[in-house]
Amino acid sequence: MCETNDGFVISEKDLELRGSGDFFGTMQHGLPEFKIANLFEDMAILKKVQVVAQEIMANDAELKLPENQLLQRVVNQKLEKLGTGTL
């Protein structure tokens, strides 16, 4: 315990030890709820996804290209759930 006072190091360690359920249990509100993903177990997929998402946004931020039509539909559903309405 005495080894580090760096919160980022500690919280990453904690996430590793306890899994995201407990980690987010301490944060509770306002977090996205996942039906199947588990931010701890699926960290590898998450990292991959973030690269994909940033690439897509860099090329087609409004998701208007024909190949991204499918994404746009589901993303808009997500946004509606967040209470922001379709963008």
Binding site: G7, I10, L46, K47, Q54, E62, E67, R73, L79, G83
Partner: protein
């Protein structure tokens, strides 16, 4: 293509009664149903001979019925026994209170059964097995899904319903991921993934299905947040605050110099504020790293540019503390601050609301109370929320709507690794204060086991004799609030009677009324209490500079993130921490 919005009651095997039970699980549509994923699986696909079965294990057997069901009655209960056998041994299948089974078996017929094996001496029993006629695979002979919480629906029923639903949708669900992503990342099609997540043939099927579904879920969430950010930035016209009033004027008011990290963050914020784009920024930094000073600077710029600012804190105590700090600085500058929390009198509240609407109040500091509909601003320009995780995206939206696209600054002391920050707050830009003011004492943390309690108690005594104060934090008891309550009161009594009879001890817990809590915190702050014992309610963090020690009992129950958040969010700087572990 199938209509996934179809009411679940029209799915084969559901009907109005079961639909009601499904509704309780949050399942209303076909879509909800097929995304109600199993929590686990049981491999019922690998048969064993009776000879191989071990006592206590769950096993699949393939047997022939060698008798009719014999029912025995004792009291109100009944027991059904069926003699069975395979080429290696004979056995009994046993059920309780399942009278209807009588007609289900015929002598000489082969069945698959799955259940718990009870093997004592030479006798083999299989207890309450699920079964199929050989050749069918409703309950056995494959990997079966186990669904989470099902109310009064048995696993069998929900499994059957799911099977019907999958049969209906399989091959007819419109793809949700673009072809190029499926190809590039070798992901299953939505149809295959949906089928295999519920009814995998092999474990590998399940893993592939899960990967595809997780990929999609995370991608859509991440894209939604990034799109929100893009939209806020590019499409919405925000407020361009005046370039004439520089944050540096405010910095001169502080009795201390800023750290490099603070200066860097302030540059980022000033740039955001002066641009006509909407600011949506998350500011992360330990307690004591100087987030409040940053908030003051931003508020100063907003007010000087002719706009109002609102600061939202998660608790009344914190809001009050903010007000005190703000007034110290802003009263000199003739900037008017007010406090809006639920505890104030109706008259005072009405007065505040009136002046807020007229623009006579420059900075409003408060709790959730500021979200109420009757709170109207003249021209809200800046929203600062303290402790992000207590205010969700939705609440942020609500407060933002009280102005014309005001800038938003979210402050959080909880450290979040980068990858997670992106999926949790991907709609925000992130600034980090990764440096503490030079005079800030590092927190000392000691982990000790319970047998060192005497030494620790003596240490506390010494501190109190020197005029300091201490916190003792109680273990969290998982079974519920009542137990927490008990443990706090018990602990307080123990300390008062056995260990520190000469000192003033008081306690706090989550079931107390806010007013009581505030009173006790105030007493502690005024040094009318020496030792405060509490559950984690004290986490909301009042600055009591005279306290310098905190003891956390049964620290292993809290988890590191919790402990670090307790230590940072609350006592700022001058405190040593002792963690008891049961070793």
């Amino acid at each position: 293509m199938v209509d996934l919005k179809k009411d679940v009651k029209y799915i084969k095997g559901v009907g109005p009664n079961r639909a009601e039970l499904l509704n309780k699980l949050g399942i209303f549509t076909l879509q909800d149903l097929i995304t109600y994923y199993p929590r686990n699986y049981e491999d019922r696909s690998k048969p064993k001979t009776l000879f191989e079965c071990v006592d206590g294990e769950e096993a699949l057997i393939e047997v022939v019925a060698t008798s009719k069901i014999v029912e025995t009655r004792f009291g109100r209960k009944t027991m059904q026994k069926l003699m069975i056998g395979d080429e290696t041994a004979n056995a009994e299948a046993v059920w309780f209170n399942q009278t209807y089974l009588k007609s289900k078996f015929s002598i000489g017929q082969k069945y698959r059964m799955y259940g718990k094996i009870d093997r004592k001496y030479r006798k083999i029993q299989i207890m309450s097995p699920v079964f199929d006629e050989y050749g069918t695979t409703q309950n056995t002979g494959r990997i079966v899904p186990i669904y989470p919480l099902t109310y009064n629906l048995s696993q069998n029923v929900i499994r059957k319903i799911m099977e019907n639903a999958i049969n209906e949708v399989y091959g007819n669900i419109s793809e949700t991921l673009p072809e190029y992503l499926l190809k590039k990342y070798s992901l299953l099609s939505i149809n295959q993934a949906t089928k295999n997540i519920h009814f995998p043939k092999e474990l590998e099927d399940f893993q592939k299905a899960r990967t595809r579904l997780v990929f999609e879920e995370l991608l859509m969430t991440q894209l939604a947040l990034l799109k929100l950010k893009y939209y806020d930035k590019e499409k919405i016209k925000g407020i361009a605050f005046s370039k004439k009033h520089k944050i540096s004027e405010m910095i001169e008011q502080f009795p201390f110099t800023l750290t490099n990290a603070q200066s860097r963050v302030l540059d980022e914020i000033e740039k955001d504020m002066e641009s006509s784009k909407m600011m949506n920024r998350l500011l992360q930094g330990d307690v004591g790293s100087g987030k409040t000073a940053i908030a003051m600077c931003a508020a100063y710029k907003a007010v000087k540019s002719g706009y109002q600012t609102v600061i939202m804190a998660p608790t009344a105590i914190l809001a009050t503390q903010h007000l005190e700090n703000f007034e110290k600085i802003f009263s000199k500058l003739e900037i008017k601050c007010e406090l809006l929390i639920s505890g104030i009198t109706k008259k005072k509240k009405e007065d505040i609301l009136q002046r807020l609407k007229n623009g006579e109040i420059d900075i409003l500091i408060g709790t959730h109370a500021v979200l109420e509909d009757n709170v109207e601003f003249k021209n809200l320009g800046l929203v600062v929320t303290d402790e992000q995780h207590r205010f969700g995206v939705r609440q942020r939206n609500k407060i933002t709507k009280k102005g014309q696209n005001p800038d938003t600054l979210v402050m959080s002391a909880t450290p979040i690794p980068r990858t997670l920050a992106l999926i949790l707050y991907g709609d925000l830009d992130i600034s980090i204060i990764d440096e503490l003011p030079p005079n800030r004492k590092k927190i000392q943390t000691f982990a000790v086991s319970k047998h060192m309690q005497e030494r620790v108690d003596n240490f506390i005594k010494k501190q109190i004799q020197e005029g300091r104060q201490a916190y003792i934090v109680c273990p969290l008891v998982e079974e519920g609030e009542d137990n927490n309550l008990k443990s706090v009161i018990e602990l307080a009594e123990k300390y008062q009677k056995e260990i520190f009879p000469e000192y003033r001890i008081s306690y706090l817990h989550g079931k107390m009324k806010q007013k009581e809590k505030d009173e006790i915190m105030l007493k502690f702050k005024n040094h009318e209490i020496d030792i405060l014992i509490s559950t984690t309610v004290i986490e909301v963090g009042v600055d009591v500079p005279n306290s310098n020690i905190m003891v956390i009992e049964d620290a292993q129950r809290f988890g590191l993130a919790r402990i670090t958040s307790i230590t940072w969010q609350s006592w700022k700087r001058r405190i040593s921490i002792i963690l008891y572990f049961k070793i």
